[in-house]
């Protein structure tokens, strides 16, 4: 490192001299700083070129070098320009909000999986282009040979390979998805009409684009203690498809799918480096255990349960574009407490109903359309990507028919860069309290009634309960975003007056069946606090450096090995399994907000700008978390454990445009 810094410094010095003193190549040759054979620069540490030049009798101006130039004479409207909403007021609340496709396990189990039969180990020596599991990296060049250089033991599913391990949870349920390009209807008034326009998404078996939406993907309903397996086939077009409408014009068909934020072994986490290619598949195995298996035995500590998770593309450098393309979906996970009981008579008795009728994911995603109604991604905007056409479950500003009873809504900000501040309002714009039950998918110790809204950053989840029985049939109630945001940097902090109604609830009649659900006074206990006396301390500063994002002042060099290939299994920051650390996450300045996401385990806030959330102070943050809403200049102390499975995981900014511009680091449990 020292060596490289010295080398760089000498190059910098040399460069400064060259540009200020107008040195020529001959001068440099004379000074011995160029090799005449190759013409390559040979930086020599410690030699001041300025001194040498002065000695040689030269002189030159050493002006500052900056020139104010021509100012802003550019003829474009600016690459970060946010288009006006394409769907105007006449279109709002005219389209029904789609329910997500309910995913069911393959009835034939493992036999229903297409291609080679899944197993705990990848197949060695196959010449099948459809390699499997984590060995799915091309080896055509002979250099990319992760599958040749990495022992197969390292590629095995950790929770499936060793029957004698405490962490052995072989899959019970089997699922299959295909990442595909399909047409999607963002709104019935879009000019593309009924055909829609191309989007990417996860298609379940039996998907029919005339009946189902491709964005967002299907919702999984899984259960702690019941391990599941998903094979995701990459059927995306390898090159842009010039169909009758248009190709997307953004994204990459090279994908990896992250499950945010399940307690998943590293090889199934959907790490940004664990990608696969069109025509290939990747096998994900989710043991569906609570964190703390090694510590507590069984399936871990039930106080570590998550409830609302989402899966999405995480390809290095392309996450924002690929999620924007539509590669995202929901996964709800239940247990004895959060029972998912259709009769709402067991566990906490939270709203559920038959076929999860009253347990409804709401996926928020803002989009930009050009003046012809063709959607696009602002490829040339470093700040972030925001649009003004707000979609819920893939449709712009829809309505949703509700019965007069309690509903559980699972709010997800799918990004790419917008922050929300959610209020519930009546037609007169009056705020109506609602009940928050979970933060980032984690049930709170107790429900919290909020009347001043909750703020939501990209990837954060809020579970809320709204009781529509207090309204009259025919009432219209609105979910309203009141966070002002004028660019991709983050919210201004101002409260919009009035806000932007994103979803309209149309209150209908009494439910067909009596509402048996409850909002119990107590939800889920928090785990024991981390012993801070033994926790290692680390500080991570997220900031802009020379226009690029950096963590701890280091632009990200994503895990390279000595052959300049990505090394998916190594990183300098190693953490022993079974330990805990205390991290300080700092926003390095500017008017930027960063939703910082740490994979694998949930953490707890010890302090947000010095204040520790408690049942009375910021009670909605008195919770386990996996996304830190890092406001401008904020400093957040967290405690986090690293238990059970091993391997490499990232921490990154979930303004995915920032993430793709290198706001990410990797750490490894060893």
């Amino acid at each position: 490192m020292k060596q490289r810094e010295r080398l760089l410094q000498s190059t910098v010095d040399l460069h400064r001299e060259i540009t200020r003193e107008r040195l020529t190549r001959r001068d440099l040759l004379k000074l011995g700083l160029l090799s005449s054979a190759t013409g390559l620069l040979l930086p020599i540490s410690g030699l001041s070129l300025r001194a040498a030049w002065a000695k040689d009798g030269g002189s030159g101006s050493s002006g500052s070098g900056s020139n104010s130039g021509s100012g802003s004479s550019g003829g474009t409207s600016g690459s970060c320009a946010i288009p006006a909403p394409f769907i105007g007021q006449s279109g709002w609340f005219t389209n029904p909000m789609p329910r997500l496709f309910e995913m069911t396990p393959l009835s034939s189990g493992i036999a229903g999986i297409s291609g080679p039969t899944p197993g705990p180990h990848p197949v060695a020596g196959t010449n099948d282009s459809k390699l499997r599991c984590v060995a799915d990296f091309p080896s055509t060049s002979g250099q990319w040979g992760l599958d040749k250089t990495t022992p197969y033991a390292d590629l095995a599913h950790q929770a499936w390979a060793d029957p004698n391990s405490k962490l052995y949870f072989p899959p019970v349920d089997f699922y299959e998805l295909r990442a595909v390009q399909h047409n999607h209807r963002w709104h019935s008034q879009m000019p593309a009409g009924s055909k829609g326009q191309p989007a990417w998404g996860f298609a379940p078996p039996g998907f029919d684009e005339t009946k189902h939406s491709i964005v967002p993907g299907p919702v999984f309903r899984t259960r702690y203690g019941r391990s599941h397996f998903v094979r995701i086939h990459n059927d995306l077009p390898a090159t842009p498809v010039e169909d009758q409408v248009s190709p997307l014009g953004f994204g990459t068909p090279i994908i990896t799918t992250h499950m945010h934020n399940l307690h998943t072994p590293a090889e199934s986490d959907g790490n940004p480096l664990f990608w696969n290619y069109p025509g290939h598949f990747y096998d994900y195995h989710y043991p569906n255990v609570y964190a703390g298996v090694n510590q507590y035995g069984g399936i871990g500590d039930p106080r570590e349960a998550l409830g609302t998770l989402w899966y999405h593309d995480h390809k290095l450098d392309f996450t924002a574009q690929n999620v924007y393309a539509g590669l995202a979906g929901l996964n709800c996970i239940y247990d004895d407490l959060d029972a998912g009981d259709p009769t709402e008579s067991t566990g906490l008795r939270l709203p559920c109903g038959d076929n999860y009728e009253f347990d409804v994911p709401l996926v928020f995603h803002d989009r930009a359309f050009d003046t012809r109604g063709v959607d696009y991604f602002p490829l040339a905007c470093f700040d972030g990507a925001i649009g003004q056409d707000y979609t819920v479950n893939g449709v712009i500003r829809p309505y949703f028919d509700v019965s007069r009873r309690k509903y559980r809504f699972r709010l997800l900000d799918m990004g790419p860069s917008r922050f929300y501040w959610w209020f519930l309002q009546d037609s007169g714009g009056n705020n109506i309290p609602y009940t928050v039950i979970a933060n980032d998918g984690n049930l709170l110790p107790a429900p919290v009634a909020v009347s001043t809204g909750v703020k939501q950053a990209v990837a954060e989840r809020w579970d809320i309960v709204i009781d529509f029985s207090k309204f009259k049939p025919g009432d219209k109630i609105y979910l309203v975003n009141r966070a002002e945001q004028v660019d991709g940097r983050g919210p201004t902090g101002n409260l919009l007056r009035p806000g932007i109604a994103v979803l309209q609830f149309r209150v209908g009649g009494a439910p067909a069946r009596k509402d048996n659900s409850m909002i119990p006074a107590k939800l889920r206990d928090l785990p024991d606090p981390v012993d801070l006396a033994t926790a290692k301390r680390q500080t991570w500063t997220f900031k802009r450096s020379g226009g690029a994002w950096a963590v701890r002042g280091e632009p990200v060099n994503i895990n390279l090995n000595t052959n300049d290939q990505y090394d998916r299994f190594a990183t300098p920051y190693q953490i022993p399994e079974g330990t805990a650390e205390q991290w300080t996450i700092v926003n390095g300045g500017g008017s930027w907000s960063h939703p910082v996401h740490i994979h694998y385990e949930e953490h707890r806030f010890l302090g947000y700008n010095g204040t520790a959330p408690s049942p009375t102070v910021n009670p909605t943050e008195y919770s386990r978390k996996d996304v830190i809403r890092l406001d401008p200049n904020a400093k957040v102390e967290i405690a986090m454990r690293f238990r059970d499975y091993k391997g490499i995981y990232p921490m990154h900014c979930h303004n995915v445009v920032h993430e793709d511009h290198a706001m990410m680091i990797m750490w490894k449990i060893v």
């Binding site: 190549r25 690029a548 990200v556």
Partner: protein
């Protein structure tokens, strides 16, 4: 500098390395990104004196390109680190640079960064064929800068050229595939990002 020698080492391979639009009979597809204005087809002058059109000659078609902005005189000292990293990345990529990978460094100070100064700079820094240092009319450079998003949302900060963004865009026009990589990261990181852009 011996002009003949310069021509021998610099210009000729460069001419070879620039795919000629006219040589291709079939009309080439204009990408969506280009149609959306990301690549204004402005005239530019390369460090060897060659005149090119930005989109037609440098971007369009199936090739991996890396684009960034820099200054010959870089007050904050970050440009040379970027250029250093790119020279090393170029070495790591070997003969692919000039064949299917191209680097373009565009000056933010076209008033002062003349082609002849750029030529010296290119020689000094070992900038090989397949990598062009580019300048042009100030209004054209400004157009490019804005179209490619090298703009600070704060207009006051944006006026200061020293506040430039040390991130390179890289992508493939024919594939409609664009990403970005920090030029302040390592040469290995930059080279690997380019190598792994395609299947």
């Amino acid at each position: 500098m011996d002009r003949r020698r310069f021509l021998g080492t610099g210009l000729a391979p460069l001419a070879f390395a620039l795919p000629a639009a006219a040589a291709s009979e079939a009309p080439r597809r204009v990408s969506l990104a280009a149609r959306r204005g990301m690549f204004p087809n402005v005239p530019l002058i390369a460090h060897d004196g060659r005149r090119v059109k930005f989109y037609d000659d440098l971007i369009q078609g199936d090739r991996i390109v890396l684009i960034h902005f820099f200054l010959l005189r870089c007050r904050d000292g970050l440009c040379p680190i970027s250029i250093y990293n790119l020279t090393k990345a170029q070495q790591l990529l070997g003969d692919r640079v000039g064949r299917d990978i191209f680097f373009y460094s565009i000056t933010l100070s076209p008033e002062t960064d003349r082609p002849d100064l750029m030529r010296t700079y290119a020689q000094v820094f070992g900038i090989n064929p397949g990598w062009l240092l580019l300048t042009g009319a100030p209004q054209d450079i400004e157009l490019l800068r804005r179209a490619l998003g090298y703009v600070d949302t704060d207009p006051e900060r944006d006026k200061d050229k020293a506040n430039h963004i040390n991130v390179a865009r890289y992508g493939d026009d024919a594939l409609e595939r664009w990403a970005a990589v920090s030029t302040q990261s390592s040469p290995e990181n930059i080279a690997t990002a380019l190598k792994f852009l395609k299947v």
